[in-house]
Symmetry: C2
Subunit: 238 residues, 2 copies
């Protein structure tokens, strides 16, 4: 017997189309939330991610997928949105030092703020974000203390917070997982990683460059998990 008559709580899930956020979408659904997926067209060079997000949102049964357009290019400041070269060939140890050039100013703050606006209109009190404090230690807005501070702010920002009717929760279920752990969890939940896109600088067909920081971390994760990356198989990469 299924219990489709029980109303599931809504949740807004930030979905880039990458490995991490796709896993989070599957986790939100498994935890009993009805997921609303939110992606951004923000002038990033790797628009292939958005195509991946669309496919993943459909295959993991998001009720709705909104792509919000924002333009951080007016403010400049990062390799992902400006004309600075994406660094290639760095080791995981190298990238763990300092703040990477691919850091987008205030990006998670902007993304979470849109998620908060949508959550409020959906009457949802749950937002999911795939930040990870291990692989991305260089990003200030991927740390647990940042997420906690955002949640505290959000609970003062909204009608629900003022009326005390519900407490808004920012879920970051990946925050202390290794990439290998994330991959194994996603496989358990049926995420098809061949549909995801992680590369900062993919080919036109979405073929990963195998040299940027994101490709390096992904390859290391699959190696440590002892699993072949289905995206590599799809593109005929050994």
């Amino acid at each position: 017997m299924h219990n489709s008559l029980v109303k599931q709580p809504h949740a807004v899930v930030l979905l880039s189309g990458g490995l991490d956020s796709s896993t989070v979408l599957a986790m939100a659904a498994e935890q009993g939330f009805t997921p609303y997926a939110l992606s951004f067209q923000y002038g990033q060079r790797h628009a292939h991610e958005l195509l991946a997000a669309e496919v993943i949102a459909r295959s993991l049964h998001a009720v709705k997928h909104v792509v919000a357009t924002i333009d951080l290019r007016e403010f400049g400041g990062s390799a992902l949105t400006a004309d600075i070269d994406v660094p290639k060939g760095r080791s995981a140890e190298h990238m763990a030092q300092g703040i990477p050039v691919t850091y987008v100013p205030a990006r998670n703050t902007v993304f979470l703020s849109f998620a908060l606006a949508w959550a409020e209109t959906l009457d949802a009190s749950d937002i999911f974000i795939g930040v990870n404090a291990l692989d991305y230690s260089g990003y200030p807005d991927c740390r647990p203390e940042y997420i906690a501070a955002y949640e505290a702010m959000a609970n003062l920002a909204t009608k629900a917070g003022v009326q005390g009717s519900q407490k808004l929760k920012i879920h970051s279920p990946l925050i202390s997982l290794s990439k290998a752990q994330i991959i194994l969890e996603g496989i358990r939940l049926g995420v098809d990683y061949s549909q995801t896109s992680s590369c900062y600088d993919p080919g036109q067909d979405g073929k990963p460059c195998q040299a940027c920081d994101s490709c390096t971390l992904r390859a290391k994760g699959f190696a440590e998990a002892g699993v072949q990356d289905p995206l590599y198989l799809k593109h005929g990469i050994g």
Copy 2:
């Protein structure tokens, strides 16, 4: 002797084109900041505000004025962006009760997040916002505790915060002023209020409706300040 060789700190000033934010722009300049004005095209019905913001930014010597386009309409939920009627003819006492229908979900959080992104790329550690806790007591994101929580979050979100090189400050100089006090301060600083636009539902020429909440608060403020509203004079309103 002028001291143009002394580098003034940059500040991002949120500028709607209304009375409050225009006054804040003048205050930021008086406090010695070089102001960068930030407005939003967010699907609001009163686009006349943006024309006012452009005129005010120029007349109060903002170094740069960016209008960022965001679309909160995808999320719905407010009279200012959706097709709900703007309430008319309410007294100031009436509007102080509860959260108004013109509340835009998470609006100040979204606006401050863009300001934070720009501040970070400008290497600015100061953001000005014209929120007011007296006239807009119904808005959760106009309260001092909200601004304090936003500032705490912002200091964990950015490179500067992590590196400890500078502390980000959210200035809300109007937060405990009455509308009359704001107007008198603006007049002292040379703000030309005939250039500002406050009405939620103005005519095509920017003529205020004289009936919406914003018009009511503005008229009350000018009356209490004992000053004629130059915007009314411009439009031939006695």
